[in-house]
């Protein structure tokens, strides 16, 4: 090509970023890397090769992290943790600030290495990945500085095992490492085997920036290395970003270990285009949604939902736009998309597209040129995908959008929410009323109005449903790297001592407390009862022996009471106060019952009842005061952090303090709009069954609070297995905690347990924001503005 031919064709010329500095860095390491442990690199060892997806050429050899290596890394992190946490917030802030600065000073090198290793365009690493990574360290340097003042009742979790994916290698490192370090934790990080290089380069830079040895350790390797980290006894928390399938396994593997866990998993995020949208802007939105990073994005807007009236026009514009996308080598500065990470992933994408076409989807594929070598896959749109097709429901993790139409806003919401996932959603409309209503109704952790795939360190990122739990970024993200000091010191719970049954209590009309389901007293399905033995061995009465069908019925009733979440906060507050009022009116009766069941002294029983009344008032107070935030990301607009209820939540109440334990767990959940299936204290269930008479007189809508008595462990397991239960709180034995966490993996419930430790339910720590945070998840709604 000459100037004259370009003058005639007006084509782009390939424009290639210089990679000599990156190549030199690789050469300086001999093209072979060890792990980074305790502030130094171990000797390179036989292991895995990392390749350039754009050409298939080997970039470097990396070591395979064995059990021994992981042990060393965890030991180094453990050794460093106390000292790191012992620094003042300011001292840690200085170190994080240095990390931010050193990323910026080496931004171009990091961008080039990342583009080579991952195959994504240099434009993205240069303009998005690396600047955002630096921004994460800046933002979290701030949280380090403010930790003592902002989180005075929290301690760092300890040693964190972090496992990150190959799609945004350095950015995911930053999302994980920056908050962990800021709040006083130390880290063992395993980058993805396909993209380990920027993590190794970052470790080298961190050392140069003066990060103390052992605070950050990088162990490379494949999935088995990750498994070793997950199952390591001395790791206090696992933070994982990756597939839902692996996330489930991690949930099961860590069950009952007391390891804290955050999972950022897959998605099939809806991209909703209304008939009043700026269609050209929405088309460009699709480019940013699904043809960003080759579509290898967990929050990719991969499911287009288009208003039927504009669908034809929109698809025509989109098809035309696709044709001008450019594919090429990652260092070419004129491209939109690079190569898929490897041949397996490419084959997986191609197979899913083929199956969708076989199912009847209409294929629109950009006829764009790509280099011969390398694992390229063209931008792809599948129109009229049958809802039953795998491509319509499963994550493809490639540059493939599927499209469906809707008729009304309600139907858009129904289609959007009809998914096991709930990571992100993008809404395109010029009508603020419509946009915000859909934003409120869509089940997703991140909602973008008239934008997509925008992220910031100050705005929490993370999903709902099977897209995982936990948030990364912002204040909400900090809590995932902290633990409340009060709970950590609780003693192990002793088994409840119940007296041997001797006889029926005298002078009482026989009374069998039924279950309470859907606002009605219900006979247990199995038609069995269990006796409740009083402190003196007398039988105080009988309660229903709930079984899995009773759980099913209760969950159904709770699911049906969906309007509770949309009641006004004022209304929920009123009902909680009313519960307190009615309980107070029957205080003496409840105190007597507590005495009879547990044998506590009159004074103590009275105190438990009045503490319960007070707690109901507290959550009535909180109901209209547990607020969200308006984040301040660098853009013209608002990012609204809204705490939303989990949905249907099971509660296995603690065995001790049968009234206060019940109120302490149920009230915060109700206050923020959840619907409950509660399993009362197994040895002392009558306080809860008496309580439903209070419920019946306090205007609590049917189905909001359901009570199923019986064997706590068995009912807890049924709740854990139930795939229409969104959260499960379980207090009791360690075995219960283990079973609940393990069995919750089916739909990745948010769980909250005490791991067999007896909390003091009368203590201030057992009331308030910690419980409200556990009862909610933050949805971040991005609303850019400007006319």
């Amino acid at each position: 090509m000459t100037v004259a031919t370009y003058f005639d064709t007006m084509d782009y010329a390939p424009s290639t970023e210089d990679d000599s500095v990156a190549r030199k860095w690789l050469a300086d390491h001999g093209g072979r890397f060890g792990h980074f442990i305790g502030g130094r690199f171990t000797d390179p060892a036989k292991g895995l090769e990392t390749r350039e997806p754009a050409s298939g050429k080997v970039l470097a050899e990396i070591a395979q992290g064995t059990d021994e290596v992981v042990n060393k890394a965890v030991a180094a992190a453990r050794k460093a943790q106390k000292g790191w946490a012992g620094l003042s917030g300011h001292e840690r802030a200085v170190k994080l600030y240095a990390l931010a600065r050193i990323i910026q000073r080496n931004a171009r090198l990091l961008a080039v290495v990342e583009a080579l290793d991952n195959g994504k365009p240099i434009r993205e690493t240069r303009d998005i990945d690396i600047p955002l990574a630096a921004r994460h360290f800046y933002h979290h340097a701030g949280w380090a500085q403010l930790k003592e003042s902002q989180f005075p009742d929290h301690d760092p979790v300890g040693v964190i095992g972090q496992i990150i994916p190959w799609n945004f290698p350095l950015l995911m490192l930053a999302w994980k490492v920056a908050p962990a370090l800021a709040l006083g934790n130390t880290v063992v990080l395993k980058p993805a085997e396909a993209t380990p290089l920027t993590a190794l380069l970052f470790a080298e830079l961190a050392e140069a920036a003066g990060l103390p040895a052992g605070v950050l350790n990088v162990v490379t390797g494949d999935g088995s290395t990750g498994e070793t980290i997950v199952s390591h006894e001395d790791v206090d928390k696992i933070a994982f970003t990756g597939s839902t399938e692996v996330g489930r396994k991690i949930r099961e593997a860590t069950a009952g270990t007391g390891k804290s866990l955050t999972l950022e998993l897959g998605g099939k995020s809806p991209f909703i285009v209304f008939d009043d949208a700026d269609l050209d802007a929405a088309v460009e939105g699709v480019v940013d949604a699904i043809w960003f990073n080759q579509g290898e994005v967990c929050c990719a807007g991969s499911r287009l939902l288009v208003h039927e009236g504009v669908a034809e026009d929109f698809h025509a514009r989109l098809a035309a736009r696709m044709m001008t996308l450019r594919l090429g080598a990652s260092l070419d500065k004129t491209i939109d998309m690079g190569a898929i990470i490897d041949a397996d992933q490419r084959a997986r994408i191609a197979a899913m597209v083929d199956r969708a076409v076989a199912d009847g989807a209409e294929l629109v594929q950009a006829q764009v040129a790509a280099p011969k070598d390398g694992t390229f896959y063209p931008p792809t749109l599948l129109c009229n995908v049958p809802a039953t097709s795998e491509a319509a429901t499963e994550e493809i993790f490639g540059p493939v959008a599927v499209s469906m139409t809707f008729r009304t806003p309600g139907e858009a919401l129904q289609l959007a929410n009809h998914s096991r996932y709930g990571l992100a959603a993008s809404i395109w409309s010029e009508n603020v009323n419509q946009s915000l209503e859909i934003a409120a109704g869509v089940q997703a952790g991140i909602v973008w109005v008239n934008c997509t795939n925008v992220m910031d360190a100050g705005v929490g990122f993370g999903g709902v449903k099977e897209s995982g739990f936990g948030r990364e970024g912002g204040r909400e993200g900090c809590y995932d790297y902290l633990k409340p000091r009060a709970f950590a010191k609780a003693p192990e719970r002793k088994p409840a001592q119940t007296a041997k049954a001797k006889m029926f209590a005298v002078a009482a009309v026989d009374r069998t407390a039924k279950l309470f389901i859907g606002g009605k007293q219900a006979r247990p399905d199995g038609n069995y009862t269990r006796p409740v033995v009083g402190a003196g061995g007398e039988i105080l009465g009988e309660v229903g022996e709930g079984n899995r069908k009773d759980i099913r019925n209760a969950v159904e009733a709770a699911r049906g009471a969906a309007s509770w979440g949309s009641k006004t906060q004022h209304n929920r507050a009123q009902i909680l106060y009313y519960l307190g009022e009615n309980l107070s009116a029957r205080a003496a009766e409840f105190a007597d019952r507590l005495r009879a069941m547990t044998g506590v002294k009159a004074e103590k029983a009275k105190a438990e009842v009045s503490a319960s009344v007070s707690r109901l008032f507290s959550y009535g107070a909180w109901a209209d005061k547990f607020e969200g935030a308006v984040h301040m990301p660098p853009m013209r607009g608002l990012a609204l952090a809204v705490p939303e209820p989990l949905g249907v939540v099971g509660v296995v109440c603690p065995p001790e303090m049968p009234l206060l334990g019940f109120v302490s767990t149920v009230a915060p959940l109700i206050a923020v709009g959840n619907r409950i299936v509660a399993v009362p204290s197994e040895p002392y269930p009558l306080a809860a069954t008496d309580f439903y008479q209070v419920v019946e007189t306090s205007d609590v809508p049917a189905g909001v609070l359901n009570i199923v008595t019986g064997e706590a462990a068995a009912l807890g397991k049924e709740l854990a297995k139930h795939n229409d239960v969104d959260g499960l709180w379980a207090f009791g034995t360690l075995e219960l905690a283990e079973a609940v966490e393990r069995l919750s993996s089916g739909n990745l419930k948010r769980t909250f347990t005490d791991y067999g430790r007896a909390w003091d339910w009368s203590a201030p720590a057992c009331e308030g924001e910690e419980f409200l945070r556990r009862a909610t998840q933050v949805k971040n709604i991005w609303v850019p503005y400007g006319e």
Binding site: M1, T2, V3, A4, T5, Y6, F7, D8, T9, M10, D11, Y12, A13, P14, S15, R123, R126, D127, D276, A277, D278, L279, D280, A281, A282, E284, G285, D288, M323, T324, R326, G328, A329, K333, T334, I335, D336, Q367, V368, A369, P371, E430, N450, C451, M635, R636, G637, P784, Y785, G786, E787
Partner: protein, 333 residues
């Protein structure tokens, strides 16, 4: 790497507007009112486009020379004189030093600016100075720049410029019609201007800096095209804000919509504020991405500029010699 399938060679056009004219259509108010423009999304597209399409090396040189052929070399100052206009016309005839064109392998090509743009008073002199070159003279008109003289005066100004030999007329619209949503008035005015132009081609200056919102810009663009504008143009160069990328994006998308409706290809002219070679590459990339290859020729793309040419000349010399250039190494315009 093989060329993308989209690539097609287009014979370079001679100076001037040689495309088929836009006949216009009846005013479709429903369509005008349905226009949606999201500003944040427009800003984002404009901000990220330059990063997606780097133009370097030979392609850059070619694109810069092409840009010269699209320039409406302009002088619109109160102190303009015939002598000043003749000097400008000389530059328009030979905007790039011949030795540079030789070195770039373009010695055989006839490279001129797209047009020369002046006030009515200097049309005759410019036509005379450009005799035989095929370079059209464009006259700003209709009470430029504010456009607030009586309607009849506007029409007679157009007619006078056409009589003096102007082949292109750059009219200014009455901003009041846009700001008050009086689309019928805007349509009627534009219709009259178009009729008064006769065979001369008409560019509608929207003065986007006065219209403020992108929605206004999009609606005004559509109305002017419906009324038969051959080109839509951003600004007079006298507003507080002149051509910007988000405004450009909005206008070219309106052009695309109008083409989809009618098949007519309307040209685009950003004016004011494009003074660097680098900026013009971004504008070209935007035209290419949003409208396609046809809009990279003076037929359908003009740049209203006075100092841009000098920067392009310096960049081209740098490309040829490897040494950074100075203004005084290129003939003055």
């Amino acid at each position: 790497m093989p060329e993308p399938a989209m690539t097609q060679s287009v014979a370079p056009a001679a100076a001037g507007h040689n495309a088929e004219r836009n006949a216009g259509i009846p005013l479709d108010l429903a369509l005008v009112n349905a226009v949606q423009v999201n500003r944040s999304a427009s800003d984002r597209r404009a901000a990220t486009l330059p990063g997606r399409r780097a133009v370097k090396g030979d392609a850059q040189s070619a694109w810069l020379v092409k840009a010269v052929t699209c320039i409406d070399l302009t002088t619109l100052n109160g102190d303009d004189t015939e002598g000043r206009v003749r000097r400008l016309c000389a530059k328009a005839r030979q905007p790039i030093r011949h030795d540079l064109l030789e070195a770039l392998g373009l010695g055989e090509r006839r490279i001129t600016t797209g047009a020369v743009c002046v006030y009515h008073r200097f049309v005759e002199a410019a036509v005379d100075a450009l005799k035989g070159t095929g370079i059209p003279v464009a006259a700003v008109s209709t009470g430029f720049p504010a456009g607030l003289v009586p309607h009849e005066v506007k029409l007679s100004e157009i007619e006078a410029s056409v009589r003096d030999g102007a082949q292109e007329i750059d009219i200014v619209i009455t901003r009041e019609h846009v700001l008050t949503g009086n689309w019928q008035a805007l349509y009627d005015e534009m219709r009259d201007f178009r009729a008064a132009c006769g065979e001369a081609h008409v560019k509608a200056i929207l003065a986007t800096g006065d219209l403020k919102t992108l929605r206004n810009v999009a609606r005004a663009s559509l109305v002017c095209m419906m009324a038969g504008a051959d080109f839509i143009k951003t600004s007079t160069g006298k507003e507080g804000v002149n051509a910007t990328l988000p405004v450009t994006l909005t206008m070219v998308r309106a052009i695309r919509q109008y083409q989809a409706m009618t098949g007519a290809k309307v040209g685009y002219k950003p004016a004011g504020g494009i003074s660097k070679a680098k900026d013009v590459l971004t504008y070209f990339a935007l035209m290419k991405e949003e409208l396609g290859r046809d809009w990279l020729e003076p037929d359908l793309f003009r740049i209203g500029a006075s100092s841009l040419l000098a920067d392009i000349e310096r960049q081209l010399e740098h490309r040829v010699t490897g040494a950074y250039s100075a203004l005084n190494r290129h003939p003055i315009g």
